[in-house]
C-alpha cells in the first residue's frame, strides 16, 4: 500500500514539473499541448487514488474537450505570448509565497492521509455505501449518489452547462450575423 502513495507522489511531482514548463513557455501552442499532458497525468492520478469515474471524466472532458477548445481559441487569437516584464513579477511572487506558506501551515492540522477513521468518512459516506444497494440498486456508489441522492446537484450542473452554452453562443454566434450584415449592406 506504500507503493500506491509512492506512485501518487511521483505523479504529483510530474504534474509540478509540467505546470512549471507551462508557466515558463512563451509559445501558446506548446503550452496548450503540455496542458493536455497535464490533464491526462491528472486522470491517471485520479485512478491511483481509487477515483475511476473522476479519472474517466478528466481524461475525456479535461484532456479532450478543454484542449480542443484552447487550440481553437489560439488559432483565432495567435500563438505567441509576449515575454514577461521584470517589473511586474515581484508582487505576484510575494503574494503566492505568502499564500502558499499559510496553506502549508494549514495542512499540518489535517487528519492523516488515507486513514479510514478520518472525519470525512464518518458522516454520510457510510450511509451511502451501506444503504444504496437496497435503495438505489446500482453497484457503482458514485452513480447512485450522483443520479439519485444528489440529483439536484446534477440538475444544477446541467443548468450551468446550458447557461455556459448560451453564453458562448451569444458571444461568438452573433459576430457572424453582424459580419454578414456588413457584407450585405
Amino acid at each position: 500500500m506504500i507503493l500506491e502513495q509512492l506512485i501518487d507522489i511521483f505523479l504529483l511531482v510530474f504534474l509540478a514539473i509540467i505546470s512549471i514548463a507551462v508557466l515558463r513557455i512563451r509559445d501558446l501552442f506548446t503550452a496548450v499541448m503540455l496542458f493536455g499532458i497535464y490533464s491526462l497525468t491528472s486522470a491517471s492520478l485520479f485512478m491511483v487514488l481509487d477515483a475511476a469515474d473522476v479519472g474517466f471524466t478528466e481524461a475525456a472532458v479535461g484532456a479532450g474537450i478543454s484542449t480542443i477548445l484552447m487550440l481553437a481559441t489560439i488559432s483565432m487569437t495567435g500563438r505567441e505570448e509576449k515575454p514577461l516584464k521584470k517589473k511586474g513579477t515581484m508582487l505576484p511572487l510575494a503574494i503566492v509565497v505568502i499564500t502558499g506558506a499559510t496553506l502549508v501551515y494549514g495542512i499540518m492540522d489535517l487528519p492523516p492521509f488515507g486513514e479510514p477513521d478520518n472525519p470525512v468518512h464518518t458522516h454520510v459516506a457510510p450511509r451511502y455505501i451501506e444503504q444504496s444497494p437496497q435503495e438505489i440498486d446500482v453497484p457503482n456508489f458514485v452513480t447512485a449518489v450522483l443520479a439519485s441522492y444528489r440529483g439536484y446537484d446534477t440538475l444544477g450542473e446541467v443548468v450551468v452547462i446550458f447557461t455556459a452554452g448560451v453564453g458562448v453562443m451569444l458571444l461568438i454566434g452573433r459576430r457572424r450575423k453582424r459580419k454578414e450584415g456588413i457584407s450585405n449592406e
Binding site: 484552447m70 509565497v97 479510514p116
Partner: protein, 117 residues
C-alpha cells in the same frame, strides 16, 4: 501528520500556487485561463485525496470487499470538472471576442488602449 501523506498535500498546494501565479503574472488571457485550470485541478486533487482510504477498493460494490473509498468527493469533483470546462469555454469565447474588438489579448496592451480612450 507525517510521512508521505504530508508531501501529497504540499505538492498539491505547490500546484495551486503555480496556477495562482500564472493567473496573476501572465498578460496573455489564454495563458491566464490555463493557470485557472491548473489551480482548479489542484483543488480536485485535494478533494480526491480526502476521499482516499489506504487499502480500500474503488467505490464500486464487490463481493468480499468491506472497505470502500469515500464516494462523496468523487461525485462533487465529477460535477466540478464538467462545470470547470463550461466556464473555461465561456472565458475562451470572451477572449476571442476581445481579440476581434481590440486586436490583442495581451492584458497590458488592453489597459493602455482602455486608458487612451
Amino acid at each position: 501528520m507525517s510521512g508521505l501523506g504530508v508531501w501529497n498535500y504540499v505538492i498539491i498546494i505547490f500546484l495551486m500556487m503555480i496556477g495562482l501565479y500564472m493567473v496573476m503574472s501572465s498578460s496573455n488571457l489564454v495563458k491566464k485561463l490555463i493557470g485557472l485550470n491548473v489551480f482548479q485541478t489542484s483543488v480536485f486533487f485535494l478533494y480526491i485525496s480526502f476521499g482516499y482510504i489506504e487499502g480500500a477498493t474503488g467505490p464500486v460494490m464487490q463481493e468480499g470487499a468491506s472497505l470502500y473509498s469515500n464516494p462523496l468527493p468523487h461525485v462533487l469533483i465529477l460535477t466540478a470538472i464538467v462545470v470547470g470546462v463550461a466556464t473555461t469555454a465561456v472565458g475562451l469565447a470572451l477572449s476571442v471576442r476581445i481579440k476581434e474588438s481590440f486586436g490583442t489579448i495581451e492584458e497590458d496592451e488592453l489597459h493602455t488602449m482602455d486608458s487612451s480612450l
